[in-house]
Symmetry: C2
Subunit: 305 residues, 2 copies
DNA sequence: ATTATCTATCGAAAAATTAGATGTAGAAGG
DNA sequence: CCTTCTACATCTAATTTTTCGATAGATAAT
């Protein structure tokens, strides 16, 4: 029982004529005969009585009419549904590093939620490897990495920007104000760094390794807010993206160290899988993030090495 | 959007795999790919995300699932409906001559209704010509004629029997008890007959015409119950089927006249159109009538000339 | 009597569906 | 790291289905 036949059947029943239905539907009359016969054969019962070239619905036919209408109504309802603008509703799974997660949630989430109250978002944190895996398994809709600038034909970079990073210390640090520091000057200081999994930590380690250097931090922790407040109150040194340290830099509790020989490129990238179905809400979310989360581009570039 | 594709879609979604769905449905895997693609093209949206050879329903897909289930449920419900025995319900239009109508209604209708309370019957009266026209236009489901024995390849005679008929007069009539009367003996008596349209009246007239005779009845009326009661109380003569006169014959108010040279064949026939769709209720009704309405065959034949 | 109308049916043509083979890429297992 | 397995996409060709056009049969209308 195919919908095509049901539509024909409904029209025949309403017009009371095979010929008229054929004209209306753009079929030849024989096609309508065939389609009705096909239905009758499949259902094993007569749908129309043909007596002297006039057709009358049988009881079965009457019953089918009602079902056919319901079925076609459902089909149309669905298609209408598709057309509708779907005023942004749905679920989005975003995965980001810990630091970004915190920043996005505090800085933008409430605004986004106010604008699009029907989009529900799940935030999860993970390191770059995990995040990419999640993209590959369609477990994340979109991720944001802080890592080396990655490129892969399977992923679409919705937006990216290089992240300025600095060694930071407390304002009272002995390095404060010193110009032209080398990495070697500070390599033996006590460091607090993010965990190894985090992209920019890995890039940092690799960069040190190139110079046959190594840091054994006294503390490793994912939460950058904790790192910054610890650094501000101690002689610890850290290496962090500016967006993490900005508040304490501004309030004068932290200071950048002027280390010249350590130019690390860390990129912030908003990424989704190339086969990802762009629902309206996902599109909206990504556009929002591109606009808001990357809006401080100019400001960052000012600090950028 | 055809049901075939929806069924495939549902299976793919449930099994989470094109291949498994293909196996289950007996399609090749490429066919399933094609069918899903077909749906997606028609709807203009992706139904599954394909990321690394695993498929996940998109939002649209999720929505379609619900509609598809409803649609398939309706289809199945209808087919179930067909299978069911449809415990006799429906409408039947029966057309009979006036006399038969009255007899059937008084003698059998209540019993039939008690047995099959969900079958609703419409009784209409008409003469033979009208009744056959109604069959031809599918306005009557089944008719009963009292006429010459008719045969036509377009009609199915569900049952037929020859109807014994007699000239009748009041018991006090001057003809009562006289043996071996000729039609000529009574031709000039005052007659009361049914209307011309009625089949057996026409047969009667034709039969007279053969003998170059003619009757101008003093009264013509369709209602045989009125005819019989009039005859019983007057010197009128009539010519009627026995089933009409039987009650008053039994009670001794009427008597048969022994007219020997007027042998008219009148048949009672239960007829429907050969293209008529036999609903269960119609079948039931016809069977009932065959059984009950023709059950007095033996008795009638006793009186038969 | 003639014409018009309506459905059934048949054969041929067109279109759609389907299968099978092949390709690609990730997953699993050694 | 390599092989094997699995899964989906795609292409072509075969098959099936659908459709049309023509014709027939029969009734209705004029």
């Amino acid at each position: 029982m195919e919908l095509r036949n049901l539509v024909t059947f409904i029209n025949v029943a309403e017009l009371g004529s095979f010929t008229k239905a054929a004209d209306l539907l753009g079929y030849s009359q024989s096609t309508v005969s065939f389609q009705i016969k096909q239905l009758e054969d499949e259902l094993g019962c007569l749908l129309f009585e043909r007596i002297n070239h006039t057709i009358t619905l049988t009881e079965r036919g009457h019953e089918l009419i009602s079902y056919a209408h319901q079925i076609c109504a459902l089909e149309e309802e669905f298609k209408e549904n598709l057309k509708e603008d779907k005023t942004y509703s749905g679920h989005i799974h975003v995965v980001t590093p810990d630091s970004v997660c915190e920043e996005m949630l505090t800085a933008h989430y409430l605004d986004f939620h106010r604008k699009y109250p029907d989009i529900s978002i799940r935030f999860t944190t993970g390191d770059s490897g995990v995040m990419l895996d999640m993209l590959d398994h369609n477990e994340a809709d979109v991720i944001m990495t802080l890592d080396h600038r990655l490129y892969n034909k399977d992923y679409i970079i919705a937006k990216e920007q290089q992240l300025p990073m600095h060694f930071v210390a407390a304002s009272e640090s002995k390095f404060e104000g010193l110009k032209g520091l080398s990495i070697k000057d500070i390599i033996n200081e006590p460091f607090v760094l993010t965990e190894c999994g985090q992209g920019y930590r890995r890039v940092f380690d690799r960069e040190l390794a190139k110079r046959s250097l190594e840091i054994t931090p006294v503390l490793e922790i994912g939460r950058t807010d904790i790192i910054t407040s610890l650094v501000a109150e101690s002689n610890l040194i850290s290496y962090l993206p500016d967006f993490v340290t900005k508040p304490l830099i501004k309030s004068g509790k932290l200071c950048y160290l002027d280390v010249c020989d350590m130019n690390i490129e860390i990129w912030k990238q908003l990424i989704y899988h190339k086969n990802k179905w762009m629902s309206k809400s996902l599109r909206t979310f990504i556009d929002y993030v591109k606009r808001e989360e990357f809006s401080n581009q100019a400001e960052n570039e000012r600090f950028s090495t």
